[in-house]
């Protein structure tokens, strides 16, 4: 009954070599992370690349995992929120989000943090306007934006 052949994709996720077996290589990376690898930091928000909740780093760049066919990830380095930092060794953006209490429901926080971390890596000393522009395609419905901006600026000042 199957029309597709299972295929294995090997990649590096959070520094660890993993392989995911899929019957549809067009399946977005997000589902492999959440359901096959148990990494639920990235969230499904829209499946359209509009909201940012699913953001991960692929070879250091912030990308929307809801749009990336897993079959195209072979050999790539993927980092999720879980791999960005830990309570013992937090990424400066994660530490700043705690310091500024920049989370309400937190469903968007994955995208806010992953997008900001990639942004600060290429723009270490941004202006507030640059932070706002960098996050212009990340949606939050609780209204954490003022604190998110403060957190990113705090992370930049302490990096």
């Amino acid at each position: 009954m199957s029309q597709t052949v299972a295929r294995t994709v090997a990649m590096t996720v959070n520094g660890r070599a993993v392989s995911v077996t899929v019957d549809d290589p067009a399946m977005p990376l997000l589902y492999a992370l959440r359901n096959d690898l148990g990494l639920t930091g990235p969230h499904y928000g829209c499946g359209l690349g509009q909201c940012g909740a699913c953001t991960v780093h692929v070879d250091g760049a912030a990308m929307r995992s809801c749009l990336l066919p897993v079959g195209e990830l072979a050999g790539k380095q993927v980092t999720t929120l879980e791999g960005l930092g830990t309570p013992d060794r937090p990424h400066p953006v994660q530490a700043a989000f705690i310091a500024e209490q920049a989370v309400q429901c937190g469903y968007c926080a994955n995208g806010m943090i992953m997008e900001s971390a990639a942004f600060l890596a290429r723009t270490p000393k941004p202006s507030e306007a640059q932070v706002r522009e960098a996050l212009a395609n990340n949606i939050c419905r609780c209204g954490t934006q003022p604190r998110v901006v403060r957190a990113v600026l705090r992370a930049a000042s302490q990096a």
Partner: protein, 731 residues
């Protein structure tokens, strides 16, 4: 002091230990699915102290992302005299927590927290009494401190030793003494939220992350026209997708179940269904004519004083205006999600429902099960600002799980969330007023056209589509509040025309009715102030007696460096005009006071409005956690600026057409205003809500600021650039 007598008896009967929970919980219905006491009047319903001295708090109100979990922990830790990190909170589990009502209406602290506080105060008194009995001293000689009762000679009796692992078995004492403000160490402080570290490290477990053994993945296939029925379902159209378990079809309810989430999504997209035609929605271009023509079920007078019609008729100056407010979607960041499992004829439903105790009844009704056979467990989802799609996802999951006999997880896709969550109904308000020769209001009349119903259950989509039992109520929330005036006007009549129908299944979205009614009232009042040539704040103060109301207005004036003068400014040239506008609300006329000032820039060529700064003075009585209250105010302002400037559902005659974030625009970071907040804390008073009231002041503050900048009055939310340009051209 019945409660205290009862508590002593309960402790003494236990003879040095305390009676264990199930023996002492009293008779309960034979089939009630509870795992511990849950009655509102019992201490054990709210609190348990483990053998390790750790405290578990049980609350029926849930944390929807607001931080109220931390607030509950603060309240319990304060009254019990234990360190905050020793308290865990269990929320919204029908088998474990008391039914404190849905988590809506800004009542979690005001109702839920106050009930918890009384239970904790009762427990503390009982612990002290038990310790007193053991050491043979009067209770007054002992004090509770850091999880123990301490005697004058320094002996410490740990709570774990006094009650650990056992039940209190005593009634909540309404007279139990609450700690006075000067003795509080945890409540009133900006303690960090307990959930945030897990959320920033990807370790928090949302309902979306729940996995149950044997769990399958389901998706509903919704009709392309909202009222259509599935005439034929072609199961062969998805047979080629690996992992398909079942196609489910019950009248208009169609769903697929698969071994993997991706297979369920592929099947949802691929399933061929022949749907009947349906085009029962009104023409969006004529929405307000449709609202005016909708049959009225009830005329509800919400305030009446004097003879405003005669006063207006005889007034030196008469004004009238109509205000409308668009249909809004909740637009939750994370589409609704739930897991359902049937075991031994009983259903367990995990969801992010704000009202698990009500959902239990709704699921039981839909499925024809006794309520006692259903357990609903809350797990946090994406931020919830009212009754959104969570309950509907729970119904989808329950129907699919019943059909396949295994646990099923359902998560809605984005288009389902935007299309099928219940909507904030369209609101239309007509106002009339008369002024005397000095510009004073002599009469005020308003008429709101809003759907009938209140804050009851919103029918489940699956029950509706499948033709299964449902309550068939309209439940838009208590949307009549705040049409009545907070001001001392000589003659007033406010009327709600409660409409028999409304285009979409309605529900409450953050500040339901209070926002729309305050918007119309406070913008129209601004029109009267302008007609009178008065400063908008002075005009309000001239008719406001309430001292707490006057205080928030006076404070926001100072905070915003308000320059006393009438609106509009009329002193600006150039493309970008700047203005300021004020609004005041006393929430539901009985609680939280808010005054807000919006500062705007209006581009008169493009019609773009930018809210640059928003000032807010806020009095919600006692503040449990000032940083959490500020976060709620910020959220209210940001999300309501979004609603005011951008948000509007679009639809054709068959269905919603604003099905993603491009079609339903919301605020982006560059448009977010700077927010300046002044909190008034009244530690000796009762706490009121903060999750909604500040939202009520935003739309009219913006309308008033645009008027101040341009001299043009906006009366139709959202204030889109096209409406601004049209208004400017018509001026």
């Amino acid at each position: 002091m019945d409660g205290m007598a009862l508590s002593r008896r309960g402790l003494i009967q236990a003879g040095g230990g305390l009676v264990i929970a199930f023996a002492a919980a009293g008779p309960k219905p034979a089939a009630a699915w509870t795992e511990k006491p849950v009655a509102l009047e019992q201490v054990d319903s709210f609190l348990a102290i483990g053998a390790d001295g750790r405290i578990t708090v049980y609350v029926g109100k849930v944390d929807l992302g607001t931080g109220v979990r931390t607030g509950f922990a603060q309240i319990a830790a304060e009254e019990l005299e234990v360190p905050l990190d020793r308290v865990a909170v269990v929320e919204g589990d029908t088998a474990l927590t008391p039914d404190q009502g849905p988590t809506y209406g800004s009542l979690s602290i005001q109702i839920g927290g106050v009930q918890l506080r009384q239970a904790a105060a009762t427990a503390r008194a009982a612990l002290v009494a038990e310790a007193a009995r053991r050491v043979g001293l009067p209770a007054e000689a002992l004090r509770a401190e850091s999880g123990a009762v301490v005697a004058p000679d320094g002996r410490r009796l740990a709570y774990a030793e006094l009650v650990g692992g056992k039940a209190f078995s005593l009634a909540v004492d309404p007279g139990a003494t609450i700690k006075p403000p000067e003795q509080r160490r945890i409540v009133g402080r900006p303690v960090p939220r307990v959930d945030i570290p897990d959320k920033v490290f990807g370790r928090f477990r949302y309902v979306h992350d729940l996995k149950v053994p044997g769990m399958l993945h389901g998706r509903a296939v919704r009709p392309p026209a909202m009222g259509a029925t599935a005439e034929a379902v072609d199961e062969a159209s998805v047979a080629g997708i690996p992992g398909i378990v079942k196609v489910v079809h019950e009248k208009g309810f169609v769903g697929v179940v698969a071994e993997t989430e991706w297979a369920a999504i592929r099947a949802q997209q691929a399933l061929k269904v022949r749907w009947s035609a349906w085009a029962g929605l009104p023409d969006q271009a004529k929405l307000w004519e449709h609202v005016r023509a909708t049959p009225v079920g009830q005329r509800q007078v919400t305030s009446e004083k004097g003879d405003p019609a005669a006063a207006i008729q005889g007034a030196a100056r008469r004004l009238s205006a109509s205000y409308d407010f668009a249909i809004h979607t909740h637009g939750s960041m994370g589409p609704s999600c739930a897991v359902a499992e049937f075991k031994d004829g009983r259903l367990t439903s995990w969801s992010a429902s704000q009202a698990t105790h009500n959902l239990r009844k709704q699921l039981a009704m839909m499925l024809g099960l006794p309520v006692e056979q259903v357990r609903c467990i809350y797990l946090e989802g994406a931020g919830c600002y009212g009754r959104n799609g969570h309950e509907d996802a729970a119904a989808d999951a329950a129907l699919l799980a019943r059909a396949v006999g295994r646990p099923v997880r359902v998560q809605w896709m984005r288009a389902e969330e935007h299309g099928w969550d219940p909507k904030g109904p369209p609101t239309l308000i007509d106002l009339r007023a008369g002024l005397d020769a000095q510009g004073k209001v002599v009469g005020w009349e308003s008429e709101a056209y809003i759907p009938k119903g209140a804050g009851g259950n919103v029918d489940l989509v699956a029950a509706d589509l499948a033709g299964l039992p449902k309550e068939s109520l309209l439940s838009p929330g208590n949307i009549v509040h705040n049409l009545a005036q907070p001001y001392a006007l000589p003659a007033v009549r406010t009327v709600c025309h409660r409409l028999e129908t409304t285009p979409f299944r309605p529900s409450w979205i953050r500040t339901p009715g209070r926002m729309q009614n305050t918007y119309a009232n406070e913008a129209f009042l601004d029109e009267l102030a302008a007609a009178a040539g008065a400063d908008p704040i002075e005009y309000r103060l001239s008719v406001l007696d309430d001292p707490r109301g006057r205080e928030v207005l006076e404070r926001v004036a100072r905070l915003a460096n308000w320059q006393t003068r009438p609106s509009p400014r009329r002193d600006q040239t150039g493309e970008v005009l700047r203005g300021r506008g004020v609004t005041y609300v006393k929430y539901e006329l009985v609680r939280t006071y808010v005054a807000g000032v919006a500062e705007v820039e209006v581009n008169r060529r493009s019609g773009d409005i930018r809210v640059t700064r928003f000032f807010c003075a806020h009095d919600c009585g006692q503040v449990i956690n000032p940083d959490a209250v500020k976060a709620q105010i910020e959220g209210n302002v940001v999300s309501t600026v979004s609603r005011t400037l951008l948000e509007e559902l679009t639809f054709d005659r068959s269905t919603v057409t604003s099905l993603d974030w491009a079609g339903y625009r919301t605020i982006a970071f560059p448009q977010v205003p700077e927010i300046v907040i002044e909190l008034i804390d009244r530690p000796a008073d009762r706490p009121w809500g903060a999750g909604e009231p500040a939202a009520a002041v935003v739309p009219s503050a913006v309308s008033n600021a645009v008027f101040d900048a341009t001299g043009v009055r906006l009366r139709s939310v959202p204030f889109t650039p096209a409406k601004v340009r049209a208004a400017l051209q018509g001026a």
